[in-house]
Point group: C2
């Protein structure tokens, strides 16, 4: 259960006094999510999501909320933060920083087909384009420094072959970075559970709390590694091509991005293998029950390495 | 037909290149409306309304668009203007200033009941509250000066009793103004056709192109004159009370506003009687076919005067 901080109806009604959202009609805790407390909130004005931030630093929150507001303003279907009467997105509720955002319609899709991957590719391109004139920046918390720090912390728990794989892959990405590729604000976590579909149309992109500045191609690789993955941890060719072609049609990829594509796929797989290892062996409080299996991304990483072992790197 | 300026699919696709809204899926002209050209536009990102401004001065448009954006940001269900890649709401399409805004769901309600009037009252209060920290201002184009200028232009077309009524009423409001009442941004045209309902819930308020700064009570009176009107041009008591009580619960009315209420109802009725007379007898090009019958508001005005003839004015 992801309601870490309970909010009662009277508490919420009092908090909503500072907003122009009308009467509270329904309040319902959301079970998913491991970083924040979330509630569905229905008022006279419509359907919203209330979030109490449990772990994110208060200083980082304006970036995420202003980013969502910026993207919504540009017509990207993402949660739009609601301002209170002091014109602020953030205020305090039960001792936590809290915000309320518009609730989007649609459902997550667990078995996406080619048409959905094409929709995702196009939308990711539009997200990258729309974020180009967003003025604020946020470094990627899961960067090379994080890898260098986290890897030695998990190796004591791993088998010798896994230690060897992890260490050689961390070393590989030290040498082969994506820093020379086009940069921008990326979602950085556009997995299937963070996209709501209405039929074949995307109703919403959600959960922007890993968004940061990094290589755009890296974001594409994170997305492809989830949406286009087939059996045996090998990318499904039709879905991968559909996603990349739709992305390219919106934000044309440069030649150096094509060349770096295998590296981006490996970097994206390493990011989630390592963070899942970390969450499994060094869990924060309340988090263990939600830990994903790290092996999935180890296999994906191994397959990417095998598939591209004959490529000559830059 | 309210499509004064035709927009073809290739023209719109080219214009949309500057936005992050994805592929054009559908373009459909909207027949209603007398001030602008409107199209329903569906893209990969969702449902929108395209507006080409035919009559409004370009200098006034930022006020309306920024107001809608401000209200949407505060959770009021109103059209949210979409910014292009230059972060602008306005740009040019086929020689006209144009914008694209989110499309709201719901349908206009022609026979509202008590529950709907209560919903409208609460929403109007929230709109007034949410607009309190909107920084831009717009004078009311239909103010006392407009009345003084427009009335002599239509009297040549009226019967002697109507001339007498119009002239005495214009003189009355010269003496009894609402200027001392709480002021703010008002919608100024919240008639039934400018509200979309989804069941008993308001899905959206639309058409903010008469919005301006004026007495909040005057906006309530405009709204009541439409939503709560019964047969024989007499206000339906149950609907009127429901609207006023719901409004008061959100934005408590002051004693001086209660005292001025009969004046506000008359001022609101006069505004639409006079503008409809003007549109009927001095129509602008393309406008005649849409002219409303002015008599409806003459009867409403007469009933308001009769109902309150025993009130001693301030």
């Amino acid at each position: 259960m992801a309601v870490f901080t309970r909010v009662t109806e009277p508490e919420l009604i009092s908090w909503l006094d500072d907003y122009s959202l009308g009467q509270l009609l329904e309040l319902q805790g959301i079970a998913s999510g491991i970083e924040n407390t979330n509630y569905f909130v229905t008022t006279s004005n419509g359907r919203f999501v209330l979030t109490l931030f449990e772990k994110l630093a208060a200083s980082e929150l304006p970036f995420y909320l202003n980013l969502m507001s910026h993207l919504a303003r540009h017509g990207i279907p993402c949660p739009s933060p609601v301002a209170n009467r002091h014109n602020q997105f953030l205020s305090e509720l039960n001792g936590k920083s809290a915000c309320i955002v518009s609730r989007l319609s649609g459902k997550s899709l667990m078995n996406p087909e080619v048409i959905h991957c094409a929709a995702i590719g196009g939308m990711l391109g539009r997200l990258h384009n729309a974020a180009q004139n967003f003025a604020e920046t946020m470094p990627n918390a899961h960067d090379a420094m994080w890898r260098a720090r986290a890897a030695p912390q998990v190796t004591p728990f791993l088998s010798p072959p896994d230690v060897a794989l992890l260490e050689s892959e961390v070393a590989f990405h030290e040498k082969h970075t994506l820093a020379a590729l086009p940069q921008g604000v990326i979602h950085a976590d556009l997995f299937r559970d963070n996209v709501l579909f209405e039929g074949a149309r995307i109703g919403g992109l959600i959960d922007f709390y890993f968004a940061c500045n990094d290589s755009l191609l890296y974001d594409v690789a994170i997305t492809v590694n989830d949406w286009c993955m087939g059996v045996d941890s090998i990318l499904d060719e039709a879905r991968t091509q559909a996603l990349l072609q739709a992305y390219h049609a919106v934000r044309p990829m440069q030649k150096k991005e094509y060349i770096a594509w295998p590296i981006a796929l490996r970097a994206a797989a390493l990011r989630f293998w390592l963070s899942r290892l970390y969450d499994m062996y060094l869990p924060r409080e309340n988090e263990l029950i939600h830990a994903h299996n790290p092996d999935q991304f180890k296999y994906i990483l191994q397959r990417h390495i095998a598939a591209n072992s004959n490529v000559i790197w830059l």
